[in-house]
Every structure is written in structure tokens, then in C-alpha cells.
């Protein structure tokens, strides 16, 4: 037997599937034959994608952090996915609508402030991923280091790279990025139907995707995909918040738009009303602020008038996707709905009208993507056989040529992995390097496309202009991420390529963050120990305070009472120390000083109890 077949690193190592969502994140795994979502410590299967920096420097994620959105809004962040792989210029519009506190000096990589610290979006996403990793480890009782993570199908290279970086910072090896709609199709196990064409309509918290797939005996072949990475439930919320703020201005005569707490309270109120409107003909937006209340009833009819533009914005990409896939709506056999926003009846109706098929809704639209990620994890680890995903790249890839024009190398909706080779030469005698500017997008001019990176081909042999022939190969891998290699066509020698990403982190920066996160993990641990010691100190101080009011206290000697007062003072001094050991030492001392007091109290209590009984 040949060694090739035995190279099998840890055949049984678990690979989890993660849906890193705008609003909520989930982790799932293959439980024998079926994918299953892993609940968190609080039993909740959804981990809100909210991160807060505690006063003691500790990182708080999920439901706990969501509670802090109201009172700690300057230390708490949500919808961070909207900033992944973005530059500051991309998000100016967002910043008006979201309470992101962008730090100074955020040119190519945005830095978000949480209290006194700043973090990049991949670092914040990594905090969410670390929580999911922890949940999975607690549930499975084993370390989890490998994951499949989903991304919106319409994510560009920079957004995908940022997601992969987040995984690395969280200590996860990201085996694959899977497109969310494709994952959903896998979860539905639509292979039960051997052949057919399926449309997946995915309207999430912040992104919209449409994918059309052809099923073929267990092969899920994506024919085309389209979408909008800036369209989702968040937009509906922001619309309702704006109306709410206007109403409050006329009702209370107060502009609350700059009041972080008020906006977050209102946000929660409109989300509750929005969700009820999916089941009820009308709902109340109930808003309470510091003792004052405001209620506004909204009917489904009014709601639909408000959101019709948002719903219609999804239809353009759907039609473009049908055209690119080369299918007419009549040929769509099934439609799958993904994302919380597809619970809205108007969205369902629009999808039904467009595709002329009744959508599948049997799986929970919040969970279906994570389940699909778990299936893909099973495929990669060899637990799931006979199923294969063939995905496409959502955007065309090109390079800048003369006059700022784009020359397309790989067209959108090409199956991935995909590659293209282009030969470059020099323009001047003795030129030693060539700069290649790679862009992604569908427009003719570079300025209208998304700049991905600049590649510097260096070490070209000094020759007359036009003589060197450097063959550059652009490869988009199965994750939808680009890599570039080059070789001298005359000598066959591999050429070095230096990559300068236009947005996002360099490899070295990610590496530094990985290390920092380990250091931070220690700091987080210390901060938690301090916080726990303070909680204990609070408890003993309160108990002592109470005991001082009792008769038992009077029975103590002056000396004993003096010792207690001294111990209380020492603990109060130690209370603000950053070292939990110092706090604990004083807790112990107070404990010792109050020993006699506790005994006295116990005796009185026993005496009282005995007195009550008739012997």
C-alpha cells in the first residue's frame, strides 16, 4: 500500500460549521447523520453578534452584551459584519445609521472604539467566533480548532479575507468559506430530489443574496449568484427608528437622535413591533425613556407601504441572477428562504410572485445556514459522502490597463476554483519590477470597481523594454479568495510577488493580532478573576454591614469590633486593585475578623429557633 493513502491528519478531529451573521451567530456540527445546532451556556441557540468591553476590560459577547447596548452603548457594538473588509470611505453612509465609533487613523482598516480601546472588525468578529468555539467545546467536551464559516455569496475578496482573518485570530483554522445560500441548499438536503433547479433567497440582517443552483445526483452546482451586501433587516429597523425619532420630536419636542440610550431603546421597540407584524395585523411600538412613555400603533398595511422599496430592491438582483443563470422563472422547481427577514409576509409574497413557486419554509430560517455549514464540514472531514458543492465567484476579476480601464480576466459566475494567466512585460529598458493593480467588479473603469490589491512583481532581469515575459497566474480558490503567482516565461523561474491589499490586514498584522489575542486572553482571564473577587468582596461587605445592626455585634469585645472595622477599611482599599490576590487576601482577613461575630449570630439564631419550639 502506498503512503499517500495514509496521510490523514487526525481522521476523527471534529470540524464545526459556523454562521457568522450580522445579527446572530450560530455554531453547528454533524451529529452522526444530521447537522445539529449547539446551544450556548444560557441554552440559547442564537448568539447575538454583539460585543461589549466590560469596565474591567473583559470581553462580553452575545445576550449579555446585547443587554449592555442600552446603558453601555459607547462600549458595545453590533452589526460589525457590515464593516468587514471595508475602508473608511465605503462606510460613511453606514456611520450615520449605526452607532459605530470609528477611531482616528482608520484609512485602509477601520478601527472601532469600545470604551478606551480600539479594535478592527476582524478582531471583533473573532470575539464572537471565540464565544462560539467555547460553546462548541463545552457541548462536545473536546477542543475545537477547525471550522467552516459561511459568508454572504456576494462578499468580495476583501470581505472574505477579513472573515478568514477573524477565524485565525480566534484560534480557528478556517478550512473553508461557504456561501450562505449554498449552505442553506445543502441543509435542505435538496438532493432528495435528484435533479432540478433551486433558487435560494437569503435576506439577512445586513446582506441580501440570491443564488440559483442546479442539482444533479448530489452535486450542488451554483449557476449564478447576485446580491447586495448592504441590504437587510437592519435597513427596515433604521427606517422605523427614523420615523420613531421624528414622532418623538413632534410629541415630546425633543431630538433624541444623538442620545445613544434612547436610540437603542427605540431600536429594540421597533424590532419587537416588526417581528410581531409578521404574525399580527398590527403592533405597537412601545417606547419608555426615563419614566416617560410613548406608544405608536403600526398596521401591517402601513408597514408594507414603508418597506416596499426595500423589498423591491431585492428583485433587481433576482432578475439579473436568472439572466446570468440562463433560466426563466418557470424553470425554477423550488425556492428556499433564508434569513430572519424572510418571515415578513410581504417578502414571501414577492418571492412567490417572482419565481412562481411556493417557498420552502420547513427549516428555521435563522438556523439553516449554520446547519449547511455543518454539512460542508462533514464533507471535508469525510463524514458526508456523495455530496459536492460547486460554487461560483460573484464578481468579475480584472486588472488595470492603460487609461484606467479594466481588462477582465475571470468573469462573474465562473465556477471556482478558477484561474487566468496573463503575460506582462516591461515598458522601459532595465525595468526591474512591474506593478499590477487587481480590481473586482463589473464596470469598465477602474475607479468604478473595487480595488483588491497591488501586486509588485520584482526581480525582473534587466533587459531591453518589452523583452521580459512574466507569466502571472491569478487563481481564485474554493473559498473565493484570490492568490497570485508569477514566473519568468523564458527561464521558468518563479517570481516573487509582493501583495499590498487595498483594504484589510496584511499577513503580518493578522499574525500580530493572533499573538495579541493570546495575551488578551490572559488579560481577559485576569480581569475576570478581579471582577469575581470584587463580587465576593461586595457580598462579604454587605453581610458584615447587616451583621453590625444585630444584637450579636454588641456582644463582641471592643477589640473584636476594632479588628472588624480595620479589616473592612483594608478591603475597601484593596477593592480597586488590579490584582485579585490582594482583594482575596483582604476578604480572608475580614472573614477571620468576623469569625466571632458569625458565631455569635449563629448562636442567637439557634437560640431563637429553639425558643420558638415547645419542648
Amino acid at each position: 500500500m502506498n503512503p499517500v493513502f495514509q496521510i490523514d491528519f487526525g481522521a476523527e478531529e471534529r470540524v464545526v460549521g459556523i454562521d457568522l451573521g450580522t445579527t446572530n451567530s450560530l455554531v453547528a456540527y454533524m451529529d452522526l447523520t444530521h447537522p445539529s445546532v449547539i446551544p450556548g451556556e444560557d441554552g440559547d441557540r442564537l448568539v447575538p453578534s454583539v460585543v461589549s468591553l466590560g469596565r474591567g476590560g473583559e470581553i462580553i459577547v452575545g445576550n449579555q452584551a446585547r443587554k449592555l447596548l442600552i446603558h453601555e452603548s459607547s462600549r458595545t457594538v453590533y452589526s460589525i459584519k457590515r464593516l468587514m473588509g471595508k475602508g473608511i470611505a465605503d462606510v460613511e453612509g453606514e456611520l450615520k445609521l449605526f452607532p459605530f465609533h470609528v477611531a482616528e487613523g482608520s484609512e485602509s482598516v477601520i478601527r472601532v472604539s469600545l470604551g478606551e480601546k480600539t479594535f478592527t472588525p476582524p478582531e471583533i468578529s473573532a470575539m464572537i467566533l471565540r464565544q462560539l468555539k467555547k460553546n462548541a467545546e463545552a457541548h462536545l467536551g473536546e477542543p475545537v480548532t477547525k471550522a467552516v464559516i459561511t459568508v454572504p455569496a456576494y462578499f468580495n475578496d476583501a470581505q472574505r479575507q477579513a472573515t478568514k482573518d477573524a477565524g485565525r485570530i480566534a484560534g480557528l483554522e478556517v478550512l473553508r468559506l461557504v456561501n450562505e445560500p449554498t449552505a442553506a441548499a445543502l441543509a435542505y438536503g435538496l438532493d432528495k430530489r435528484k435533479q432540478g433547479i433551486v433558487a435560494v433567497y437569503d435576506l439577512g440582517g445586513g446582506t441580501f443574496d440570491i443564488s440559483i443552483l442546479k442539482l444533479h445526483d448530489g452535486i450542488f452546482e451554483v449557476l449564478a449568484t447576485n446580491g447586495d451586501t448592504h441590504l437587510g433587516g437592519d435597513d427596515i429597523d433604521n427606517l422605523l427608528i427614523r420615523i420613531g425619532l421624528e414622532d418623538l420630536l413632534s410629541e415630546w419636542g425633543e431630538d433624541l437622535s444623538q442620545d445613544g440610550e434612547a436610540v437603542q431603546l427605540l431600536r429594540r421597540a421597533v424590532i419587537e413591533a416588526k417581528e410581531r407584524l409578521s404574525f399580527a395585523p398590527s403592533a405597537d411600538i412601545v417606547f419608555e425613556l426615563r419614566g416617560r412613555a410613548f406608544t405608536r400603533t403600526i398596521t401591517r398595511e402601513v408597514f408594507e407601504k414603508l418597506i416596499v422599496d426595500i423589498v423591491n430592491r431585492t428583485l433587481g438582483p433576482c432578475r439579473a441572477c436568472l439572466a446570468d443563470a440562463g433560466v426563466t422563472p418557470e424553470r425554477i422547481d423550488e425556492v428556499v428562504l433564508v434569513g430572519g427577514s424572510t418571515r415578513i409576509p410581504m417578502v414571501r409574497a414577492a418571492v412567490e410572485t417572482l419565481f412562481r413557486a411556493k417557498p420552502h419554509t420547513d427549516l428555521n430560517p435563522d438556523e439553516v445556514v449554520a446547519l449547511g455549514a455543518a454539512v460542508q464540514a462533514g464533507i471535508l472531514s469525510g463524514h458526508v459522502e456523495d455530496q459536492l458543492l460547486l460554487d461560483v465567484t460573484p464578481l468579475s476579476l480584472g486588472i488595470e490597463i492603460m487609461g484606467g480601464v479594466v481588462s477582465q480576466l475571470i468573469h462573474r459566475n465562473s465556477a471556482i476554483p478558477a484561474s487566468a494567466t496573463q503575460t506582462f512585460t516591461t515598458g522601459v529598458e532595465g525595468q526591474r519590477n512591474v506593478l499590477i493593480h487587481v480590481v473586482q467588479g463589473e464596470r469598465e473603469l477602474v475607479k468604478d470597481c473595487r480595488s483588491l490589491a497591488r501586486f509588485d512583481l520584482n526581480g525582473i532581469p534587466p533587459l531591453p523594454a518589452g523583452m521580459p515575459r512574466i507569466e502571472v497566474r491569478f487563481l481564485i480558490d474554493a473559498n473565493g479568495i484570490l492568490s497570485v503567482t508569477a514566473r519568468d516565461a523564458r527561464t521558468g523561474v518563479e517570481q516573487t510577488v509582493e501583495i499590498k491589499p487595498s483594504y484589510g490586514l496584511t499577513d503580518a498584522q493578522v499574525e500580530a493580532m493572533v499573538e495579541e489575542s493570546i495575551v488578551n486572553a490572559e488579560a481577559d482571564f485576569r480581569a475576570r478573576q478581579v471582577a469575581e473577587a470584587r463580587v465576593e468582596a461586595d457580598a462579604i461587605l454587605a453581610a458584615t454591614d447587616k451583621a453590625k445592626q444585630s444584637d450579636a455585634y454588641l456582644e463582641l469585645s471592643d477589640r473584636e469590633r476594632k479588628d472588624i472595622s480595620a479589616a473592612i477599611n483594608m478591603l475597601l482599599l484593596a477593592y480597586h486593585s488590579d490584582d485579585h490576590l490582594i482583594i482575596r487576601e483582604q476578604i480572608e482577613k475580614l472573614n477571620a475578623a468576623t469569625m466571632a461575630l458569625a458565631e455569635n449570630m449563629m448562636n442567637t439564631a439557634v437560640g431563637r429557633a429553639l425558643k420558638g419550639k415547645k419542648i
Binding site: 502506498n2 499517500v4 445526483d217 465556477a415 476554483p417 480558490d477
Partner: protein, 195 residues
């Protein structure tokens, strides 16, 4: 004669070693990759069948737990598989590919080089577009679509001729047809306003 990188025996299968089963570096030629004869007439259903079968055997998902070298070959192979499938599926791209493989230049057709027999049509279309004359544009579109249909029929005929004769002269004729077809296609897109 190439030998298997792993066991040193000559591989009998184009993608896998028949002895040790390890994945080999991919063949560069698209026809070789699909183990198809280098012909211009091609059975589309058979191409589809081979594409799915090869995807199952070569995709990186299948090689996840194998060695580094095979994983790299799998990535390279699948990239070529996808590129080759896209090219061979489409008759025009297939012909362009075969021409290129035979040393013919097939660059972008410059709009300045109007094929003389189309001069009049181009002039009429430009007039119609300038005046936004809907009927004339529609008429031009219908005419161009018919011309494209004719050139497709002629191309199919030449494809068969080449497959039988393997003469370079036929390839030269096909190149002329391709250029003309591309030109007509551009006109259709111009008239449609999609260009």
C-alpha cells in the same frame, strides 16, 4: 514518457496513477483534460457527463485529508477543469481555443476594421441609433440576428470539415468566420444598448 511523481511508474490514466492511485499534475490541454479528441464538433451531453464525473474525482473537498502535494494538484486540476468546461461548452470559445493552440492569433476585433460587406448595415444602424428610431433599430436587430444565425450554420459546417481534413486552411477560414461573428455580436449588443 512521464512517470508517477509518487511511485515512479508510468501512469496509465491521465489524472491518476493506475498503480498507486495518486493524483497527477493536470494536463494543460483542455481536450486532453477531458480525454476528448481535438475536434471542433463535440457532444455537449457527453461533455457535461465528464465534467460532473471529473468534479467528483478532482475537487479540493475530496483531497482535504490528503498530502500537501495532492491538495495542490487538486486545486490546479479543478481550476483547469472549470476553465476547460467553460471554454469547450461554448462553440465560439472552443474554436478560438483550438485556433490559439494551433498558433493563430485571435485578439479583440477592432471596431475600425469593419468587414466590407457589413459597411452599409453599420452605417444604417448608426443613423438609426442617432435618431433613436425604434423601428429601424428593431429591423437592424432582426437582420443582425439572422446574420448571426447564418454564420453559426456556416461555422458548424466548417467545424465538420476541419474535423475530417485537419487542414490549417480550414482553420484560417474559421478564424475569418469567428471575426465576422464577433463583429455581428457587437452590433447586436450596441443596438440593444447593452454595450
Amino acid at each position: 514518457m512521464p512517470v508517477c511523481w509518487n511511485c515512479g511508474k508510468p501512469p496509465r490514466d491521465i489524472h491518476f496513477c493506475a498503480d498507486c492511485g495518486s493524483l497527477q499534475p493536470p494536463p494543460a490541454n483542455y481536450f486532453d483534460f477531458f480525454e476528448l479528441e481535438r475536434k471542433l464538433v463535440l457532444d455537449a451531453a457527453e461533455l457535461d457527463r465528464r465534467f460532473y464525473a471529473l468534479s467528483r474525482r478532482l475537487h479540493p473537498d475530496v483531497f482535504f485529508r490528503r498530502g500537501e502535494r495532492e491538495r495542490q494538484y487538486s486545486l490546479d486540476s479543478t481550476a483547469i477543469l472549470n476553465d476547460a468546461y467553460r471554454t469547450l461548452k461554448d462553440p465560439v470559445k472552443r474554436a478560438e481555443y483550438l485556433l490559439k493552440e494551433n498558433g493563430f492569433e485571435t485578439g479583440e476585433q477592432k471596431s475600425a476594421n469593419v468587414p466590407p460587406e457589413l459597411l452599409e448595415e453599420v452605417f444604417e444602424l448608426n443613423m438609426a441609433l442617432e435618431e433613436s428610431a425604434k423601428e429601424e433599430i428593431a429591423a437592424a436587430l432582426a437582420k443582425f440576428a439572422a446574420m448571426r444565425g447564418e454564420s453559426d450554420v456556416e461555422m458548424a459546417r466548417q467545424f465538420e470539415r476541419y474535423d475530417q481534413s485537419r487542414e490549417r486552411g480550414v482553420l484560417a477560414e474559421i478564424r475569418g468566420l469567428l471575426n465576422r461573428r464577433k463583429y455581428i455580436q457587437n452590433l447586436i449588443e450596441t443596438a440593444n444598448g447593452t454595450r
